[in-house]
């Protein structure tokens, strides 16, 4: 099977076969990162622009490493050091970049749908590296790869997503991804952070972590953004940590082979206690490791191979 899409805007647009293709390709690329010389010439002469309107350490570095290991030329543009601070619009920035013929634009943006807007105007492939509260497809793909590696299969697993679902693009992409791949998805979080009609997305909705932890094969903790305190969504981080945070006591109800995941960056002692984040069930750093492989696979599938003509 071939990957025929121009862009990766979200998991929503992917078929399960396409997701499998990405995961299988990523598995074959993982080995490259274990070599002493971690570079192959696959994308030599290709240009990847990383256009980041939001701060990011993990995602941007991961994309850059992925591109460089495939020998693509990479350029980073971040909002604070570009014409964006002079008031240039996204589309004007895009048109100017387009004039320099990049092959891929990786976009991180605080507004939902920004990659969709960009993709309509540029020839280059657009990869969504996170758009507002909408999607973060590469995060969901690396999460799938991690589950597949550790559990052997995704289908049939029960995944609990705990925390601020409403404001989480990671949750949305994972709900698409996991339900498409046949997993059972439970969510838990304070009612103020559970969006309207969430059950219609094919998930089971609970409030307290205790209601989902015992059944879960995988627990995904979501980052709580500290500024939510001022938005009437929760009374205090202290109460949030007590009721909705994952600690060893709550974890004691979990299955013995449970996996603990977190998209990072973590707030130690808020949504996850240090003992759990660093404990034996945590695969948080495996997720980061898989991020590089997934992004290499995507770059290859979007601009490598046949489209070379």
């Amino acid at each position: 099977m071939q990957f025929r899409k121009k862009d990766l805007l979200g998991i929503k647009q992917l078929e399960p076969e396409e997701i499998n293709l990405i995961l299988e390709t990523a598995e074959t690329f993982k080995e490259i990162s274990t070599r002493p010389i971690k570079k192959v010439p696959t994308l030599r002469g290709r240009t990847v622009v990383h256009l980041f309107y939001e701060p990011s350490t993990r995602t941007r570095t991961s994309f850059e490493i992925a591109a460089k290991r495939l020998s693509a030329d990479t350029f980073n543009i971040s909002a604070s050091t570009s014409s964006i601070v002079k008031g240039e619009t996204l589309l004007d920035t895009a048109r100017n970049l387009e004039a320099m013929n990049p092959d891929v634009i990786v976009l991180r943006h605080s507004a939902a749908g920004a990659p969709h807007l960009l993709a309509r105007y540029v020839q280059a492939s657009v990869i969504n590296a996170g758009d507002g509260m909408h999607e973060h497809p590469t995060q969901a793909l690396l999460d799938l790869l991690t589950i597949k590696e550790k559990k052997g299969t995704i289908s049939g697993q029960t995944i609990a997503i705990i925390g601020d679902i409403a404001h989480s693009r990671v949750a949305r992409s994972n709900i698409w991804a996991l339900t498409k791949m046949g997993a059972r998805v439970l969510v838990a979080g304070p009612t103020t952070m559970i969006p309207h009609d969430l059950d219609k997305l094919g998930v089971e909705v609970f409030y307290r972590p205790e209601d989902v932890i015992p059944e879960a094969d995988v627990i995904m903790m979501l980052r709580i953004q500290l500024e939510r305190q001022g938005q009437m969504l929760l009374p205090s981080l202290r109460e949030y940590a007590c009721i909705f945070g994952l600690n060893e006591e709550k974890l004691s109800q979990a299955k013995p082979d449970v996996l603990i995941m977190h998209p990072g960056p973590i707030n130690r002692g808020v949504e996850i206690s240090p003992a759990v984040a660093d404990g034996p069930y945590s695969v948080i750093l495996d997720q980061v490791n898989n991020g590089v492989a997934v992004r290499m696979a995507l770059l290859y599938l979007l601009i490598g191979g046949e489209k070379d003509e």
């Binding site: 929503k12 619009t89 996204l90 589309l91 943006h109 605080s110 507004a111 939902a112 749908g113 920004a114 969709h116 807007l117 758009d131 507002g132 509260m133 909408h134 999607e135 693009r169 949305r172 969006p195 309207h196 009609d197 969430l198 219609k200 997305l201």
Partner: protein, 432 residues
Amino acid sequence: MSKLIRGGRVLDPASGLDDMHDLLIEGDKIKDLGPPGTLGKKSASVEVIDADGLWVVPGLIDLHTHLREPGEEYKETILTGSQAAAAGGFTSICCMPNTKPPNDNSAVTDFILRRAAEADLVRVFPVGAISQGQKGEMLAEYAELREAGVVAVSDDGIAVMNSQLMRRALEYAQVFTLPVISHAEDRDLAGDGVMHEGVVSTRLGLREIPSAAEDVMVFRDCCLAELTGGRVHIAHVSSAGAVELVRQFKAKGVQVTAEATPHHFTLTDEALENFDTNLKVNPPIRSSVDLTAIQQGLADGTIDAIATDHAPHSTIEKDVEFDYAAFGMIGLETALPLTLRLVDQGLLSPLKAIEKLTSNPARIIGVDLGRLTPGLPADVTLIDPNREFTVEVKQFRSKSRNSPFQGWELRGKTVTVLRDGKIIFTEKNISG
């Protein structure tokens, strides 16, 4: 100079007339109506307008237009907005006060009316501000505004959050027989939302505006109308809850009227899946439940009028990320065919559909228009109800292009429009 509109199907909701009739215009007034061939001698001084196969209806009246002048002439001017209105079959439009500066005093009202007179196309009825500067703090000077020519007051675009101010507006406006038009939105509940709260906003991760933001304010303003005996008109009803509230308060005899826009009775939030900023409007396009309730409200008379909320924006406001885009879409040139879809769907009779665009809006703003009565100004619109066409925004007279209906196949086209007996729009040759 006389004009004879001959051979058309005359629809006059005020009198209930729906029949093949000729209509005679003398000067700027309607002279007479009568069965085909009974009016006017064959004389060279009578100009004959052939209406064979056409509907002949009172000139359409839009209760809710944003003309953007003064202040944002790059989006629309009183001239281009008037041209768009005429092309859409309208002979009268009410322009909302949220210009820059806002229409909260007679100088702005005078300016609007002067520009409208220069354009000399449709009648422009300015709506004054409820509060000075639309700041929601002090009442504007309604006596001065009424004297200058406003037909209603509204803080459209910026809901009146202070309930005491709304109460006083509903009381004070009665002295000058002005209806108070409510932009019903609890701004705290709406927050920085950009679309309807429901499963689609949950999927898209766009910040949401709950229906309750509208419902609580419709309830408040109906209660205040009941308390004060004032007359409130609910603008752009978008939620099922608001429809039901208006229905209940009407049943109690409270003086409340309501309008709905073509986009709210045509579209649902599912259309937003592609982040088309032309679909970003306030109040937002809501769910299929709301759509059905609005259609039902139109059918049973709960919703009196169809109004466009024509809100022009340029590419500067619309070719941006959804979160950053301005609210609003244009509607003057698509309102009529979208209304006729309700006729096709069997929800409204032709007469009822025209009523919501003519006699009912005229009654709400208290002007003696919107009916085909001898002696009244000859504001008449000729419609080809069967003409199919593809919406092409590039052909719009409006200065802006922000319509989500680009490419839609619609039926029903304005053929000729007369205001005061003068042809202000035509697309056909007039036969002698």
